[in-house]
């Protein structure tokens, strides 16, 4: 598959003329991305009558712009109030929220926007250049390799919660067990459902996200008048436009970090089903592993914010590759795009680049143009968005509880899901108070059903032989990498602590 750069350049200019489609899609995407319970996929479904009525090219531009901007929107509440808009932004508050508490919300938002835009823009271009090779990634990953990838996701949690690896692993595996609730895929046998019919179809993710992050946070923040520290409040009151520009400068100075963490997102995005949640945690963990100051992660470290934001926007372009090149959607939103295109008689797959190159390349140009327009529209808003952090918790906590709980009702329209979110809120509250990471539990809940599916598939292929999980060369290499990723950070941490302990003694001498 040869890339027609001339056509790509023409399309780039032409896509700019559709700014009137892109701009509303960006605004809508930022809103739906920022509200837990909404997602780009849901919104595209709601707006399906509109996108189906559009010309295929315009419809595609609208969907891609909405998709890319919703990814960025999800990071906004994650930074400001410690509530990720979607699971893909679950790693963003790890360092974004501590920055907010220090009164650096405006700076954090600017860093997030710049990282998202440059990460997304870069991976869009890279996706175009490396499309023929990247599309092959999915072919090499079978059930066994996917099991290791899922376990790799869980092992990351242990290293992210580096203060206590054991507690990190317990939280992650507890989440996996929760993710196993529901009927099994082969015989539909209900398992661990407590008799609730609503849980037969697995634990829905939105109530888990809302409860673990939003409800538990709301019950925790009422201990103070504001989510900000006293120093943070002073800093916020003095903050002006220079905070935004400082954020932009800080993000640009980390250009190399943006590049390699967004590439992680791109590669993981190519794997169907892996998604932004895994990508952002992988990027965060890798960033921490190779950092000279890993102990500062979790306290408002800039690299800890840049990494997940670049990576989850890298995923956005990555998910389009399997859709356009081999016809396999990389995620829910990509799947809906495929449905809309098929309605218009467009069959996605390798032939699309020959039969309708303006659509195949158009998806990527739309993404690139969206990112370019997005930085201009969203950056000036950082100052005003950050003001939300000075709102008293008296008002903020009830607003968070009511609107996010109702958000958990939206996907399935079950009141049960609101109770479920409340139950997750209690789990999240206990986790926060006792030093367990709520993100670790959430990742477990996300990965549980995926892990089980791949496990079953591998066992059925091997006719029940458990050793199948060590039967693939690529899988075995990944097992070794998994063990290394689990133990190397622990070793480096111990070495650093030993060095720190040795330092005063040396000085004394």
């Amino acid at each position: 598959m040869e890339i027609d750069w001339g056509l790509f350049a023409d399309l780039f200019g032409r896509t700019f003329t559709f700014w009137w489609v892109i701009l509303p899609a960006i605004l809508l995407g930022l809103i739906v991305g920022a509200i837990p319970g909404f997602s780009a996929a849901n919104t595209i479904i709601i707006l399906l009558p509109m996108t189906l009525a559009m010309e295929p090219e315009i419809g595609l531009i609208f969907m891609v712009a909405l998709y890319a901007s919703s990814r960025m929107g999800a990071g906004i509440p994650a930074i400001l109030v410690n509530i990720p808009g979607t699971a893909g932004a679950a790693a963003t508050p790890l360092d974004g929220y501590p920055m907010t508490k220090q009164g650096r919300a405006q700076q954090a938002l600017a860093i997030s926007f710049v990282s998202s835009v440059f990460g997304g823009l870069l991976t869009t271009i890279l996706a175009l250049m490396a499309m023929p090779w990247l599309s092959q990634v999915a072919y090499h990953l079978h059930s066994v390799e996917m099991i290791v990838i899922m376990l790799f996701g869980i092992s990351l949690i242990a290293t992210i919660a580096a203060k206590d690896t054991l507690k990190g692993l317990i939280a992650g595996f507890f989440g996996l067990m929760i993710g196993y609730i529901g009927a099994d895929v082969v015989y539909e046998t209900p398992r661990g459902t407590f008799g609730f019919l609503e849980l037969y179809d697995k634990v829905p993710l939105i109530p888990a996200l809302v409860g673990l992050f939003a409800v538990s946070e709301a019950f925790a923040v009422i201990e103070g008048e504001s989510i900000l520290t006293k120093r943070g409040m002073d800093a916020m009151q003095k903050a002006g436009w220079q905070e935004t520009w400082e954020g932009v400068r800080l993000a640009i100075s980390r250009w190399w970090h943006i590049i390699w963490t967004s590439i992680i997102g791109l590669v993981i995005g190519v794997v169907p089903g892996a998604g932004a949640a895994i990508a952002s945690f992988v990027a965060y963990q890798q960033s921490k592993t190779f950092s000279k100051t890993p102990e500062k992660y979790g306290t408002g470290h800039l690299d800890g914010l840049v990494a997940p934001e670049s990576a989850n926007n890298g995923v956005t372009s990555g998910t389009l590759i399997p859709l356009l090149v081999i016809g396999v959607p990389g995620g829910a939103t990509a799947a809906i795009m495929a449905v809309v295109l098929q309605y218009h008689g467009v069959t996605v797959g390798p032939d699309l680049f020959d039969s309708q190159p303006e659509l195949a390349y158009g998806a990527f140009t739309a993404m690139a143009v969206t990112y370019a327009i997005m930085i201009l529209t969203v950056l000036p808003l950082a100052r005003y968005m950050s003001r939300i952090t000075v709102v008293s918790t008296i008002y903020m906590a009830p607003i968070i509880i009511s609107f996010t709980l109702v958000g958990s009702f939206v996907p399935r329209a079950y009141v049960f899901d609101m109770y479920l979110a409340l139950a997750f809120g209690v789990i999240g509250y206990v986790a926060r108070k006792t030093g367990y990471h709520v993100a670790a539990i959430l990742i477990g809940v996300i990965l549980g059903p995926l892990l089980e599916n791949y496990f079953l598939r591998a066992l059925r292929i091997s006719q029940g032989d458990v050793m199948v999980i060590f039967s693939s060369s690529l899988g075995n290499v990944m097992w070794v990498m998994l063990i290394i990723s689990l133990f190397v950070p622990m070793y480096l941490d111990r070495r650093r602590k030993a060095r720190e302990q040795a330092l005063p003694t040396t000085t004394d001498c």
Binding site: F38, I46, L166, K167, L169, I170, A171, F173, F174, L176, M177, I178, Y180, I181, D184, V185, V186, Y187, T189, P190, R191, G192, T193, V215, F219, I222, E223, T393, I394, Y395, A397, P398, I399, I401, S402, F403, L405, V406, F409, V410, A413, V415, M418, Y419, L422, I427, V430, K433, T434, G435, Y436, G448, L451, E452, F455, L456, L459, R460, G464, V466
Partner: protein
């Protein structure tokens, strides 16, 4: 470690490890319950859960042993104090939980707009200690009505519907 006068008392503070065991014990109980629901089912429904569940049980046992050693050495206690600290917020937190349960319970009949209005009003008054009544009333009204127009009218979102939403359906 500093005392009230800011002087070092010299005694290292003991970690309240009892609170840290609450979640693992809940996890352990849930895993055992889960196992009881899969004992008599085909292996395909068992195998993955037994794999993950046994790892979780192993990790929890390791944590319990570690805690027991720390308690024996005098480095930790079995206190669950961090769960309820600071104690002065316990009544407010429990009242807010009660209000939230009421909100979820009544929303299926009252619908989004009315129930959200009353929840916001009561919860904000509770947290403010009954101060700023006018502001809270206005804010609750704006947020619930604004939420109705944004989510139900503009986005046509599946929010819980009650008498108000049904009545206004013909208008908007």
């Amino acid at each position: 470690m500093s005392d009230e006068n800011g002087q070092d008392s010299g005694k290292p503070e003991k970690r309240a490890a009892g609170a840290e065991l609450v979640l693992p014990i809940a996890g352990l109980l849930f895993t055992l319950y889960y196992f009881t629901t899969i004992i008599n089912v085909p292996w395909t429904a068992q195998v993955s859960a037994f794999f993950v569940g046994n790892i979780l049980i192993g990790l929890i046992i390791a944590l319990i042993i570690r805690t027991a050693i720390q308690v024996r050495r005098g480095e930790a206690t079995l206190s669950i104090a961090p769960l309820i600290a600071p104690k002065e917020y316990v009544p407010k937190r429990l009242a807010l939980l009660g209000l939230t349960l009421g909100y979820v319970f009544f929303i299926q009949w009252g619908g989004f707009t009315v129930t959200t209005f009353f929840f916001l009003l009561c919860a904000m008054l509770l947290l403010s200690g009954g101060k700023k009544k006018g502001l809270i009333l206005t804010l609750s009204l704006i947020l619930s009505v604004g939420g109705y127009f944004l989510f139900i009218v503009a986005f046509n979102t599946r929010f819980p519907k009650g008498p108000v939403e049904t009545m206004l359906q013909g208008v908007f």
